[in-house]
Symmetry: C3
Subunit: 396 residues, 3 copies
Amino acid sequence: MDGGPAGAAGPVHEVLAALPLVDHHCHGVVTAGLDRTGFESLITEGAVWPGSGISPFDSPVGVAVRRHCAPVLDLPRHAPADAYLARRAELGAAEVNRRFLTAAGTAAYCVDTGYAPGHGTTTPAELVEAAGGDAVVYEVVRLEAVAEAVAARGVEPGEYGAVLRAAVREAVRRPGVVAVKSVAAYRTGFDLDPARPSAEEVARAAAGWLARAPHRLDDPVLVRHLLWTAVDLGLPLQLHTGFGDSDIRLHRADPARLTDWLRLTAGTIPVLLLHCWPYQRQAAYLATVFERVYLDVGLALHYVGPARARAVLAEALEITPFRKLLYSSDAYGVAEFHHLGAVAFRQGLAGLLRERVDADELSPADAVRIARWTGRDNARRVYGLAGLPGLADLPG
Amino acid sequence: MDGGPAGAAGPVHEVLAALPLVDHHCHGVVTAGLDRTGFESLITEGAVWPGSGISPFDSPVGVAVRRHCAPVLDLPRHAPADAYLARRAELGAAEVNRRFLTAAGTAAYCVDTGYAPGHGTTTPAELVEAAGGDAVVYEVVRLEAVAEAVAARGVEPGEYGAVLRAAVREAVRRPGVVAVKSVAAYRTGFDLDPARPSAEEVARAAAGWLARAPHRLDDPVLVRHLLWTAVDLGLPLQLHTGFGDSDIRLHRADPARLTDWLRLTAGTIPVLLLHCWPYQRQAAYLATVFERVYLDVGLALHYVGPARARAVLAEALEITPFRKLLYSSDAYGVAEFHHLGAVAFRQGLAGLLRERVDADELSPADAVRIARWTGRDNARRVYGLAGLPGLADLPG
Amino acid sequence: MDGGPAGAAGPVHEVLAALPLVDHHCHGVVTAGLDRTGFESLITEGAVWPGSGISPFDSPVGVAVRRHCAPVLDLPRHAPADAYLARRAELGAAEVNRRFLTAAGTAAYCVDTGYAPGHGTTTPAELVEAAGGDAVVYEVVRLEAVAEAVAARGVEPGEYGAVLRAAVREAVRRPGVVAVKSVAAYRTGFDLDPARPSAEEVARAAAGWLARAPHRLDDPVLVRHLLWTAVDLGLPLQLHTGFGDSDIRLHRADPARLTDWLRLTAGTIPVLLLHCWPYQRQAAYLATVFERVYLDVGLALHYVGPARARAVLAEALEITPFRKLLYSSDAYGVAEFHHLGAVAFRQGLAGLLRERVDADELSPADAVRIARWTGRDNARRVYGLAGLPGLADLPG
């Protein structure tokens, strides 16, 4: 949009519209019906503020829901919020989820199961069942959740390192686990000592941390230890960076602050920088100079909406090798975001690529290749999905 | 402009062109005539550099003045700087000010009276008189000016806290005062301890500060104390963030650095992040996740000019609830900036909204609503202007 | 591009297409033939990652090379990488270099001779000879290289300050030297104490540094001392800021962090902020408020490519006085980048200016003036090139 009409037609648009996406980072959706407050609380990174007169519907993401999700529920585009919620209630959560997950056109989901598990959201198996068709699902293990479970079960500080390591290895042994994830950005930010902590440092930090309750992992030594645990594990590591809720300090989640750690761990595991906004250029720099660093602009895609996704993608792709950008929705809670993330990605990228093809800055064949790589094949490579059931024979 | 033709026609443009704006942060204008140096010194955040060959006219804001202000003085668009200054002198300051303030179409001004008071600029009453018509004026009290006046009058360190509090309460009791403002960004930047300082800390810091002269309030404890004084006061707090003159350290005025303080004070007073450029996305994040945080891109609007205002507004609105963006000009010194800020806002926002309407990403009714909210109604709500004389019955 | 068609025609485009550029910061090109790995290693700020499946050709700069450089080698636009490299080998390095340097249309080169000297790249004289025609060449002395040579020759710590000063004075006495350069951004970042170090501090720091080998100048006191040496010297100082290879910490190369030093040294030497991406707005702020600060977006121009150069230039010019933006390619290694930087600058700026002229936001005469100033005349002024052979009588 911004920058001309969003590629609403043409071969690149068609390729992107039909492409089975790999959503390399997302969450489950709520299985119960949602009242207005419940729904609104899930379409904002802020909160519902009763009595404020400020509704999440009155924001870019709210406009995008009314524009792009209403038709999936048989409503006219731009339907009012009340009509939208009424129709949603009328159809019921199962049907709503089915419609949006089908509409998303996602072939494979990598689901982070560590956020608010058991709060009435789908398990990975339920998510893919709701999506129907041939979609497959993989799991991403959240490291902080594993560590906090270790603490909750009780452990001696001197044993924490070994027990955590065993617990992580156990967790990733579940079928379908393809990656781990850390929310270090939320807990300490990225201004951490990049060095691997010694066993003594870990034990000392664990002693302090375990003595406190509840066990929210926010000790800088233990957060750092988690990141190094991921390195030892050998699986790809997803890292929340940038945009999130009010619990983050945005500037301290600038992925550039991870440079020293990325340099120290270069040549080990793939590191996937999630969300990144508004630091997508900083993330792109890291993906450009470090072999195993990747990025996406998930979460931002639906919050800025299809009207602005192209501008954000343009920054994310400004210098980035085309093998380094992935698609994710980071959808959580409402199935709308699985659909909206996909629409924003498909339309935003198609508009960007088509403009370059029209200006003869890019060949049509290259445009199609970039679309397929970023929407599907890069994730398939990084996570080794091609060898896994369901994605080996994805159509082109 | 950047991103297609600037909505020069159509219903959104017409609504914005006719909308009586609330300029929630601006300053007075010089009442005397201005020679070339005097005028140039007021259209740059740098300085006039004699002998450098670098004129503020040769910059985006200079081009915008010649393009959008010259016609208001009966000159052709893009009139040369010399012709512009000659015509300005010919008309005289009073007539020049009258023309630009009328052309701005501003219905209400919230005037920061704490910057360079008495330097030959209009009082709020004089400003609104020059604007003519039915415009109304409110006042914003600059906290640092109050504190520095307290110091200048003489006070015992142990009494500073109480005397300051009384002085601030006295200052805001003046009729028409609707907010306070802090320039903490200039004095310490935002890397401050977010906690409320104790009475002992304040007394100790005051002892050190009062012993020095002149009394420019730059002590980190006392700056922090000022911010907490605003919280106690209960009025909306305007905060300079981002862009300013050479006295600022730009990166330390990134509003993201205020996160801890905003978290601590959440649920208390409205906080209005002014200017924000180039951190408008960071400010938008804060406005998205904190109920009482708002932003504008004043000052930037006229410095980037109408040709680029749309791009800056697009970033400011990328994820922002539509209730959270306000209009301000931050005009100071020359009445041109009252006009230019309004033109940049009206044209930039109209272009942005119209493009989205044209692409069917936004309904026309929503576009009109966003225009009215950001240009007028949000300020009316935050400052409670609707209950004040003059703004109760503003036309739609 | 982004934001409408890239001014492919019209007077501004023609002026920019024909303008003899001054490239105020660039490097030599390799004189030997390059195999695939050799070429790829020179078109990325990352590295060639064997076995990764990630080729620098599959990135914005690779696409730009295939689009804009292939035709210079008689190949069709968007020629495949293999065909490109085969044709390059067929023509031979001398002919390839000649073609691109001629195509660049650069009238004057200011060559940084301190990066990887003697690694098979052209000397300034060889570069300009390869460029043919009437191009002239000037030299930029890299301060860290001088300091490291001083260390390599052996010096007593107590003598270091005086010997360095003499060595720098000697180095800049070579004919054609017009500036010095520092890569402090790489060595320490810009969070340095801005004050001039005392002779004792320098001697003490030199003692520590000289005791280590190899002598890579990364001591914060000595880096700071180098910057002050430049101030004493009186020549313009080029400073790497922002984007670079994996050896930089991007956020610590944000030029805003130099503010205190720029304030302390205001009124002394011109300081030219190089590259700046993604901090071009921060650099623009500094250039706006400090008389002797300038910026360019070299390096970024070819890495983002002509398809995106306009967006980056638009941010660089958002508030910037038109006297303050310069052109540089920062080309290194492959002559393609001398051409590509020039194409990206010419097309990007022409597109930006033409759009503003079309929208009547800028007069055609002003557009032409901005093009000439930024592409040529600003560098001529800052470096005093007009008085030097070859540039005195450049055509308009």
